[in-house]
């Protein structure tokens, strides 16, 4: 269901005006021309107008000076777009009385998912009527529509008949074909373009065919700039994700201190108390914190914020205190800290379980998540990682690094022939002696030492990823080699003699690199 508040800003202004006088002055205000304005660089501009001003010819987006020319006795009031948005958010939550979840459609709409819900209100028609009356009682002028897709409901609410209902079994394409192209929620410049092309109705887009639209708009990726994507969303051929409005409260505990703190030991004591409060708070909700924010407000008007992110949800106070201990080392208390606040902006479900106390950790060892937290707090987030397979045949791209407790993304990994145990961060160039330029290597110099090659296996030819790299990227011939002392390396020749790429153009021999060390 799409709810369009046709005159949201105006209705809100009236509500705010009439609230103190209990609607006494309402009629007078309605008949007098009124405009809500914002100050812009070119003077005040009109954001919204009421019905009587509209009748005179005052339009939104006009300059106030022009409007005064049309209507000298126009009354003005400042507009409040942020307030309107906040109101809309409240309304979106409130509109969940008609469905399980709702999404904002700024600046003046709300989308509610009413799938399989209408029968509770006596059918779609009755539901729309009820919604309109209820919203009307709040003083909001609305246009409503129900359709199988969000796009279609939006189009019908804005451009369709009053309280339009489009059922899943109806022929949506047919019903919507008479609506103007503006019903596709396109950007103004695209609308202008379509108008210049002579495409006025959605039906016109069907006539000219998909291929034409596809070709004309292939560089426009954003849905709001591509009529074809919008058309498919309208008819439900491609999904359109909506962001539901969700009410969340981040758990928050704080201590106001009678005497400003200047010493670390006292601060630790306060943090300890807060951690315990937080643990209780989180336990009540059955959650654990993934991210914590400790705010310290100083007497002299500064605030210090320390953030902490955990590898797994936790609410163990001892663990939290330990992690914050290191973060508080460099806090400058100034003239003292008067307010300490702990907030958990990111929580995850954590069922009740036996607590992992420091004493237990001392005796039986810490859990893996706790251990990783301790490591990341001291060493940084990018120091502790887990190698993960990546779908690539190129050696250095065959593994990616992830956070240690993340689940693996790929289920299968590629089976490679023989890979070294360790890979250098970047291949190091070596000087190689060989019998023929594309033959087996005989001897090489790496990091100032000469290695005699006794055993060679290869080449294993690995081509560049043609879909990522330029056509000038060269392929590599890998050799697994063992030197006189049994040390085993993985080296490659960059490019093939005579492939006409890279250094071959200058006529020099291919370079060699050492990339890995074998077990």
């Amino acid at each position: 269901m799409a709810i369009w508040l046709t005159r949201l800003a105006m209705d809100r202004w009236h509500k705010n005006q009439t609230a103190p006088e209990h609607g006494a002055a309402k009629e007078g205000a309605e008949t007098h021309p009124l405009a809500l304005i914002t100050e812009t660089a070119h003077g005040p501009r009109i954001d919204a107008v009421n019905a009587s001003a509209c009748a005179i010819g005052v339009q939104p987006k006009m300059l106030l000076a022009d409007a005064r020319g049309l209507c000298p006795h126009l009354r003005t009031a400042p507009s409040d777009p942020l307030g309107d948005l906040a109101f809309l958010e409240n309304l979106a939550v409130w509109a969940r009385r008609w469905g399980p979840w709702s999404a904002l459609d700024p600046p003046d709409g709300v989308l509610v998912d009413v799938t399989e819900v209408a029968h509770l209100f006596g059918g779609e028609k009755a539901m729309l009527e009820e919604a309109q009356t209820v919203l009307g009682r709040q003083g909001l002028a609305t246009r409503l529509a129900i359709a199988p897709t969000a796009g279609a409901a939006w189009a019908l609410a804005h451009f369709g008949p009053e309280r339009a209902v489009l059922r899943a079994e109806d022929d949506g394409a047919q019903r919507l074909s008479t609506l103007p192209v503006a019903a596709l929620r396109l950007d103004p410049d695209i609308l202008l373009l379509l108008r210049r092309l002579g495409l006025k109705r959605i039906g016109n887009l069907y006539d000219i065919g998909r291929d034409t639209l596809q070709r004309r708009f292939r560089t426009h990726r954003a849905p709001a700039a591509n009529p074809l994507v919008r058309l498919d969303q309208l008819l439900g051929r491609v999904p359109e994700p909506l962001l539901p409005v969700a009410v969340t409260h981040a758990p928050l505990v704080q201590r106001r201190l009678m005497e400003p703190l200047r010493h670390r030991s006292l601060l630790d004591r306060v943090v300890e108390d807060l951690a315990e409060d937080m643990a209780r708070e989180l336990e009540g909700r059955g959650e654990g914190a993934r991210r914590l924010e400790l705010g310290l407000w100083r007497v002299d008007g500064e605030a210090v914020i320390r953030q902490l992110e955990m590898a797994a949800a936790t609410r163990d106070p001892a663990h939290i205190i330990r992690l914050f201990g290191r973060k508080l080392d460099d806090v400058d208390a100034g003239f003292g800290i008067e307010l300490v606040r702990l907030r958990a902006p990111w929580c995850e479900i954590l069922p009740l379980s036996q607590a992992d106390f420091e004493a237990a950790a001392e005796n039986y060892g810490t859990g893996l998540a706790a251990c990783i937290d301790r490591l990341t707090v001291r060493l940084g987030k990018h120091a502790v990682r887990r190698p993960d397979p990546h779908a690539s045949h190129l050696p250095e791209r065959a593994q990616t690094w992830r956070a240690p407790l993340d689940k693996a993304v790929l289920q299968e990994e590629f089976g490679f022939h023989a890979r070294p145990l360790k890979l250098l961060d970047r291949p190091e160039e070596i000087a190689v002696l060989y019998a023929t330029p594309d033959g087996l290597p005989r001897r090489f110099r790496w990091r100032g030492a000469v290695h005699e090659i006794l055993r060679v296996e290869g080449p294993e030819r690995i081509a560049p990823e043609w879909w990522r790299e330029r056509s000038s990227a060269r392929l590599r011939d890998y050799y697994r080699i063992e030197d006189g002392e049994g040390r085993r390396y993985w080296i490659y020749r960059h490019g093939v003699m005579g492939d006409g790429r890279g250094q071959d153009r200058q006529g020099s021999a291919p370079q060699w690199f050492l990339q890995g060390l074998f077990a």
Binding site: A361, Y364, G365, T366, G367, L368, A370, C371, I372, R374, L375, R378, L379, H382, A383, V384, R385, R386, P387, D388, P389, P395, A398, Q399, W401, P404, A408, E413, F414, F416, A418, R419, P420, L421, K422, L423, L424, D425, L454, R455, V456, E457, R480, I481, E482, G484, E485, G486, R487, R488, Y489, G516, L517, F518, A519
Partner: protein, 206 residues
Amino acid sequence: MALALALDGMRAEGTDLNSSHDARNILWVQDKAAIRLSGRPYRPGFPPELRARLIHVAAKTPEDALFALEEGLRCRDLAFVIGEITGNPKALGFTVSRRLSVAAEKHGVPLFLIRLDARRDLSSARMRWQMHSTASPPSCWNAAAPGTASWRAELFRARAYRQGEWILRDDGKHLAAHSPAAAQKDHGDLADASGDGSLAQKSNSA
């Protein structure tokens, strides 16, 4: 040289792990110099049973690396901890190495500390090895190709074992040890030497 030692740790506990089919993770700590010298662990080159379990820590300084090692040893969910530290940093004195061995013994997490390019100095490790790579036996399929990796390992300090020198070789199932003098098959399967969890092992390399 660098690679030969890196695996030594692996090798020894590789056997240990195969026997116990647990899904505990392993921690691999390297300091910055060790990464520059010998590179980072590369997952496709790992033994398949260890691939999914590796957690790698790239520490900037030896101090950070030692901190990470100690935290790793305290963690009950780790199968073993490998550390790679280059040279003889001041931070790794006798006291610290004693701390590490005590933590390893207390929590039963084996530590394999690899010292790249280091001199032999004081250490409280239970077993101290000097590892060198050595020529591998010819591969049975391709005589010109490198065969299974081999090491010449010298046990130069250990509390409960005699000193000695062996040729170690991982044949996929366990670590086989041969006497270096002759090709005679020695009974010495090193698994029982390194298998009793709590010993901290050090290998030095010149």
